[in-house]
Every structure is written in C-alpha cells, then in structure tokens.
Subunit: 227 residues, 2 copies
C-alpha cells in the first residue's frame, strides 16, 4: 500500500498561500509601511493554530486579525472585504496538479493500493480531491487534523496496514516522513519549491534510514519496484 | 452497531450559534436599526455553504461579510474584531453534554459497538470529542463534510456495516434520519430545543417507517432492546 500526501505533493497548495500573502503584504504596507507583515502574520497563525487548525479559512481569519492588529484598527473595512474575497478565491480555485502526478498515479494504481492521507480542512480537502479528477484512483481517503505518530498509527489500525508493507510519499519531512519512519514504515520525500516554515525539520532530527528523497514523482515507480 | 450524531445529540452546539447570533443582531442593530439581520445572515450562510462548508469558522466568516455588507462598510473595525473574538470563544468553549448522555453511552458501550458520525469542521469536532471525555466509548469516529445517502453508504462500506444491523441516533431529520432510513437502516430521532432551519424536513418527505422519535437519550436503551 502506498500513501500520498495531497497538498504540494499531488497538487499545488503552498503557492496559493504564498501569492495571497504577497498581496496581503502589499495591502498592509500601504497603511503601515515599516511593519514586518510576514513575521506578524506567521506569529498570528501559530497563536491561532490550536484554535483554528490548518486550512484556508483559518488563514483568512488570521489575516483579518493581523490586519486589524497591525494597523491598530485603522484599516478600512473595504480592505477587510478584499481579504475575505482572497480567502473565497483560494477555496474556489481549480486543483492544479503537479507535473507527472496523473500519469504516475494511473500507473501505480494498477500495481498498488493507493491511499490519500492529507491534513487540513475537511471540506476544502474533499473539494480539492473532487476537482482533481483523481478520486477514483484511491482505495481510500484519510483527512487528518494533524499528521503525527498517533494519527498515522490510527490509520494503520483502522485499515489493518502493516508498517513494513507501507510507503508514504509526501513533501513534508515533518508530516510525511518523520512520524511514518518512526512507526517502521518507509517514506519517500519529494520536496516542493516552497515549504511552509512550520513544516521544516532540523537535519539532526531526521531519521538515518527508512526514507529517501527524489526530485519528481516520476521517479517513484522505480523506487517502489526496488523496495 | 449504533451510530450517534454529535452536535445537539450528545453535546450542545446550536445554542452556541443561537447566543452568538443574538449578540450579532444587537451589534448590527446599533448601525442599521431597520435591517433584518437574521435573514441576511442566513442568506449569507447559505450562499457561502458550498465554499466554506459547516462549522464555526465558516459562521464567523459569514458574520463578518454580513456585517460589512449590511452596513455598507460603515461598521467600525473594532466591531469586526469583536466578531472575530466571538468565533474564537465558540471554538474554545468546553463541551457541554446533554442530560443523560454520559450514563446512557456508558451503559450502551458494554452492549453495542458505538460509532460517532458527525458533520462539520474536522478540527472543531475532534476538539469537542476530546474535551467531552467520551472518546474511549466509541469504536470509531467518522467526521463527514455532509451527511447524505452517499456519505452514509461510504461509512457502511468502509466499516462493513450491514444496514439492517445499524441504528443511527440524532437530532436532525435531514441528516440523521432520512438518508439512513433510505439505506435500509433504522433511525432514532431525538429532537433538540433549537434546530437550524437548514436541517428542517417537510412532514410529507419523512419516511413512514424505519424510525421513531424519543424525547431523551435516556429512553434509548429500551428502544434498542426492542429492535
């Protein structure tokens, strides 16, 4: 069985956040030219993570709160309306697959059982999967509020998966590699062009074995054949 | 196997929305005394449902948009900050169980396999379950973005549940009774004091059999014994 992360492994996600954050920075700079908008937004997101969880709606609420706080309430309502609109725009965007995803998944679905294991907002993730056209290639879908050892263990138990028969594929060392390898399964890391700071893992905390890195999903079939 | 809805079946939920909506109405009336705030908010929620889905974050975003639209942007930013705070408050509230829930679930968990089948925001629902202290009584948890015939069929397939061996218990005719009965399973309806208009079902669309109504979860063990 092969598990796939969704965001930034199968389809672009962080880029959406990155672009919107750039627009947000420009908007706020007009009111508070000297503010470190990115740092303040990142702090707000971390502060709100335990209340809101991941996803676009959480990001939108944190942008609104940051905008009000940074301008000490001086931001006009029309600008807040613009921010609300960005959030909706992100949620409605078509799912844009990464290069090689569709061909590779079609090839692999004939050889392995494929599982989508993604984290974030349930409604948004289901929408992205539906719009991706890949839904039928997966035996099952697991949308988790957080990807850690406990939540992966839960998936293994629910689906009677033996860790030694399982390979997880994803772009995040923190969410797709470290917890999976610690449970005795194998992981394949495919870095994405932009990684959210929150997902970084210091080199010294990476496992020595049980995982490998490739630069494109197109290399995956050969890797799986070898395992 | 017995499935339980969460919101307004095991723990209070709609009351939280109801109270906040009252505060929202009072806040907006100060700016637009003649506005039909409840109707406009309900329309906004329906308009946004296909983009945001259910839950407190969606509700908060819809309140903000309604406030800006209804006041034509004249609402001060400090009031929008208050609305953001209400959303956070709702998400952090302790889970308040309905009368008789804990005793009844403890009793039933010795006799049946219990499943929590709830809809809404993944992060919020997991938080409520964790804070409820009831987590250990359930064999499994299914958080769905929408409860309809297809999503229940999915649960039955995933968990190898035969409809004739399954009873669903919940407060919503639309989400907990109609789709379940249409699949050949049994349903028990426990009305809650406040029901969101969206969950109403016209009498003529209710199934004639396959379900019954009780007024308290305390009556459930006797009902299940009879089935």
């Amino acid at each position: 069985m092969v598990g796939f992360d969704g965001d930034d492994t199968l389809w672009h996600s962080e880029t959406r956040f990155h672009v919107t954050q750039g627009e947000f920075r420009d908007l706020l700079k007009r009111h508070v030219p000297d503010a470190d908008v990115d740092r303040r937004l990142a702090e707000m997101e971390m502060k709100n993570l335990s209340i809101y969880g991941y996803g676009v709606k959480s990001f939108t609420l944190s942008m609104l709160e940051t905008a009000i706080e940074l301008t000490e309430g001086r931001i006009p309502t029309s600008d807040l309306e613009v921010i609300l609109g960005w959030g909706k725009g992100m949620l409605m965007e078509p799912t844009e697959l990464l290069d090689g995803v569709e061909e590779t998944l079609r090839l692999l679905s004939g050889r392995y059982d494929l599982l989508l294991i993604t984290k974030g907002d349930l409604f948004d993730q289901e929408g992205k999967l539906a719009r991706s056209g890949l839904g039928d290639l997966f035996l099952g879908v697991e949308i988790l509020s957080e990807k850690n050892t406990d939540s992966y263990r839960g998936v293994f138990t629910r689906r009677a998966i033996k860790p030694e028969d399982f390979v997880m594929v994803g772009n995040s060392l923190r969410s797709d590699v470290v917890p999976v390898v610690s449970l005795g399964a194998h992981a394949v890391h495919i870095p994405y062009e932009v990684t959210w700071h929150h997902e970084h893992v210091p080199e010294e905390e990476l496992p020595n074995e049980g995982w490998q890195r490739i630069s494109s999903i197109r290399e995956l079939p050969a890797i799986l054949d070898e395992l």
